[in-house]
């Protein structure tokens, strides 16, 4: 059931790959703009690079999350899906995993842009990618949930970031901190607590949103 | 800080109390007015002469 839902989502994403390309360009543009906010100070840019990377990913995520329900809203397809003898939880997890994969890919694709613009490279790519995977999971679990509500409400473009941004403050904080520890070095061994915080956030919201999702779509 | 005593500061105290009570007062008045309006509208709709 979950596999079928996930396959459907991935197929939809594959068909809208130009959209994904556009979101990547949007994220890269925002990374470029952040450097104008700081000015041509390469030391400061390197220092704040992880914050910029995550803000770029966060801004892009509102586009991809809202887009993930666009197909369902056309021709009231969501109601049709709910009529199938399937668990809405499978629907949620399929969508959340698809969003997670997409956001992780986006984050990993933004890393070279960050390295070029801010001179913030690292050889510890394995850890960096692990943090991006965990952080993207923290964005996609509540994001998929809120997108389900806001895609059916008025003023959806405003509402999704309004609800999502305050909620993911801890995930953002932990991701930024962990990324900057990987890039700038970790003399105090602080990386593990931040990664465990991120993992705890993911665990709480992946389970809580899965529990509550059926109430949101069935009424 | 370094353990020093904060001297003066009455203006901050007055500011804090003023902000607190004016926000509470304005909010209270606004919801009571909204409730009155809603009540009178309900009554009008119940028996429109």
């Amino acid at each position: 059931m979950l596999i079928a839902a996930l396959r459907k989502e991935l197929l939809l994403q594959w068909r809208s790959r130009t959209q994904i390309m556009a979101v990547f360009v949007f994220g890269a543009t925002s990374l470029l703009l952040f450097s104008f906010a700081v000015g041509p100070n390469s030391e400061a840019l390197r220092l704040y690079s992880s914050g910029f990377l995550w803000l770029g990913l966060l801004l892009s995520s509102t586009l991809t999350l809202a887009e993930s329900y666009a197909a369902e809203m056309e021709n009231r397809a969501l109601e049709g899906l709910l009529l199938l003898p399937s668990d809405p939880r499978a629907l949620y997890y399929g969508k959340a995993i698809a969003n997670w994969l997409q956001l992780s890919m986006l984050g990993i694709a933004l890393v070279p842009v960050m390295v070029v613009l801010y001179d913030a490279g690292t050889t510890d790519l394995l850890r960096l990618f692990a943090i991006i995977l965990l952080g993207a999971a923290g964005l996609s679990a509540p994001g998929t949930m809120y997108a389900a509500m806001t895609s059916q409400a008025r003023a959806k473009q405003t509402l999704l970031p309004l609800l999502l941004f305050p909620l993911i403050v801890p995930a953002l904080l932990a991701s930024v901190k962990a990324t900057s520890l990987v890039i700038l070095g970790d003399p105090m061994r602080q990386l593990t607590p931040w990664i465990s915080l991120l993992a705890a956030f993911d665990a709480i919201y992946w389970s809580l949103c899965g529990l509550l999702y059926s109430r949101v779509v069935e009424d | 800080m370094s353990g020093g005593v904060v001297t003066g500061g009455w203006n901050f105290v007055i500011a804090a109390y003023t902000v607190t009570f004016s926000v509470l007062f304005i909010y209270g008045v606004s919801i009571v007015t909204r409730l009155r309006e809603e009540r009178s509208r309900e009554k009008e709709e119940a028996n429109p002469q």
């Binding site: 509500m149 008025r154 403050v169 109430r215 | 109390y17 607190t20």
Partner: protein, 291 residues
């Protein structure tokens, strides 16, 4: 639900909150019934909050405006006495000086803001299990009043931070968590504005309230970790006996005022929902058929 038990609970709370405190202030300790001060404070706070919330649930669906007027009157009375004691009777604190007097409104606001959000969370959980719209009205009231209190808390925190730390805003865990909480619950109020269908609005905002409330401790601990170099805040648990009375009076004052506000706001929400759910007027229905 009847109002009687609420009155009894409130009376117990008032006895242990004020009568015993005033008597001890004058050297009479027989009224405390031999209880330690921690137990007295717990009894006062527990009975007061339980009584106020019982009163809220017993009366907020009534059409009359007498109950909330009682609560608002009690609240104004407590706040007037508490502020008088806090501003003019209590001595200035040893290190903080006069600025300490902000604490007498700041700490009660903080307790009640958290209480309002907790009430909203409880209403959200109950609504998901027992879909009765009165819980939705209560949740709307609690969220809105909680947002007002959280906003006040940020203002007071900024006013306190300026003379003590020299800056308006400090990335202190409590202040930051309050700000995050304020924006999260403002988002839920916005969600309620933009969804017209009452059933969907109720369920979605309950779910959003649960999700946002669960975030509070995570935000608190992450900010504390993030900003670990911060100096310890003065802990209201360690203040001396002279500070208890204004603190308790104001805490109960804001609690009663908050209950009155939530009652008004819940009645308003119920009235609005009735109008939304009312069948269309006959003329409109006929027009629709003609088209």
């Amino acid at each position: 639900m009847k109002t009687g038990p609420a009155a009894i609970l409130l009376a117990i709370g008032a006895y242990f909150g004020f009568v015993v405190a005033v008597a001890q202030f004058h050297g009479v300790s027989a009224l405390a019934l031999g209880l330690p001060s921690g137990a007295i404070a717990t009894l006062a706070a527990g009975c007061g909050v339980a009584g106020a919330i019982w009163f809220l649930f017993a009366n907020d669906q009534a059409d009359s405006s007498a109950p909330w007027q009682v609560m608002a009157g009690l609240g104004v009375l407590c706040l007037a006495f508490g502020s008088y004691y806090g501003l003019f009777v209590a001595p200035p604190e040893q290190y903080m000086g006069e600025v300490q007097r902000i604490m007498y409104v700041h700490v009660p606001t903080a307790w009640n803001a958290l209480l309002a959000m907790t009430l909203a969370f409880a209403c959200a959980v109950i609504f998901l299990f027992k879909p009765d719209y009165k819980w939705d009205s209560r949740m709307e009231g609690a969220i809105e009043v909680g947002v007002v209190l959280a906003f006040l808390l940020c203002c007071q925190g900024a006013i306190w931070a300026k003379p003590t730390w020299g800056v308006w805003w400090d990335w202190d865990p409590r202040l930051t968590t309050t700000a995050v909480l304020l924006f999260a619950f403002l988002g839920i109020l916005a969600l309620r504005r933009f969804v017209e269908d009452p059933a969907r609005r109720a369920i979605w905002s309950s779910v959003a309230t649960i999700i946002a409330y669960v975030d509070v401790p995570i935000v608190y601990f992450s900010v504390r970790w993030w900003n670990s170099l911060h100096q310890q805040q003065s802990n209201p648990g360690t203040v001396s006996k002279q500070f208890w009375l204004p603190l308790r009076l104001n805490a109960f004052g804001i609690l009663f005022l908050m209950v009155a506000f939530i009652m008004i706001r819940a009645q308003l929400a119920t009235l609005r929902r009735k109008q939304e759910m009312a069948p269309p007027l006959p003329e409109v229905a006929e027009l629709g058929e003609a088209v």
